[in-house]
């Protein structure tokens, strides 16, 4: 798991609409990456649904949230529509799990990402990271706000 204080590895991934999103292009903004195992798996569904509800507060706090999994952009599009959510989803599809691997959250055995949160500051430095002890355990949205508060105070 990538540690706080280290520069976040740059990445370029397509979102659900095929738009390329790179860390470089997000410079100057606070970013929350929510790595999750798979689209359409029941637990992830709860996670993104709840995160959707806190989007307005996140935006007010000046942070942008992205979901990341190894699914393709087309699967992401369908998943987004199925849930009725607007959180942009990035496809860590090819090479599969490459970004998750570089952030140290890829589960090589299962071929999917662990459930993890990474807060990246405007300078591209990791401010906070958290990985769930089990894929069934969803990190509460409160942790994101704790981390934002902590980063703002630092």
């Amino acid at each position: 798991m990538i540690e706080a204080g280290t520069p976040a590895p740059d990445f370029m991934l397509p979102d659900q609409d095929g738009n390329e999103v790179s860390l470089e292009s997000l410079r100057g903004q606070t970013i929350v990456l929510a790595f999750y195992p798979l689209d359409f798996s029941p637990v992830c569904t709860d996670q993104l649904n709840v995160y959707q509800e806190i989007l307005p507060e996140l935006e007010r706090a000046g942070a942008r949230l992205y979901g990341v999994s190894v699914d393709s952009a087309f699967a992401h599009k369908a998943f987004q529509r199925e849930l009725g959510i607007s959180i942009p989803l990035l496809a860590d599809f090819h090479p599969k799990g490459d970004v998750a691997r570089r952030f140290g959250v890829f589960n090589e055995e299962r071929g999917i990402s662990q459930r993890a949160l990474v807060l990246i500051g405007p300078e591209g430095i990791v401010d906070w990271s958290h990985v769930s002890p089990s894929p069934l355990e969803i990190p509460g949205a409160n942790l994101i706000f704790d981390a934002l508060e902590y980063a703002a105070a630092a």
Partner: protein, 170 residues
């Protein structure tokens, strides 16, 4: 953003909906009327000697009517019939459209005009949102989530938790 930082679920307060006897084990419940697991949990808890506090945790992207139903229960609460509406909502989760809500309100002898006004009011929406925020702060991410003696239990209570609650009552 400050109000979403981590904090334990708020203590039982004036505004809370509480059911059961003061001496019984306290269960603080975050749930949603459109969630089938919440209905199941409601059935399980109903038979136990516990003191229940019900708080709303509607997630509309999962359950599109959740917020509307929570507001209906709060509107009934303003006429002193929260638990009656609560029971009526969980009793039939397939009938949750507006006419079904009016039917429930009529059966509970609520003032319908007031019910309609209240369930769409800012105050009621804020009451429901306040419960949701307190749940998020306490780490709730799924429904139902129960807090027993300060410990978070996500999902339908299993045999261990139920036994603990029964034991606690004895």
């Amino acid at each position: 953003m400050a109000d979403l930082r981590s904090a334990p679920p708020p203590e039982v307060g004036e505004a809370d909906h509480v059911r059961g006897l003061a001496g019984d084990p306290l269960v603080i419940e975050y749930a949603d009327y459109e969630c089938p697991y919440c209905a199941q949990t409601d059935l399980l808890l109903r038979d136990l000697a516990v003191r229940r506090v019900f708080r709303h945790f509607p997630v509309p992207s999962k359950h599109p009517r959740a917020r509307v139903l929570a507001a209906a229960a709060e509107a009934a609460a303003l006429q002193g019939r929260f638990w009656e509406m609560h029971d009526a909502l969980f009793a039939d989760q397939s009938r949750i459209d507006d006419p079904h809500l009016w039917e429930r309100a009529r059966r509970l002898h609520l003032d319908l005009d007031r019910f309609e006004r209240d369930r769409r009011s800012e105050a009621v929406a804020e009451r429901v949102a306040g419960d949701f925020r307190s749940g998020v702060r306490a780490g709730v991410v799924t429904t139902p989530t129960l807090f027993v003696e300060g410990k978070l239990h996500a999902a339908v209570p299993g045999p261990e938790l139920l036994e603990h609650l029964i034991g606690g009552a004895g």
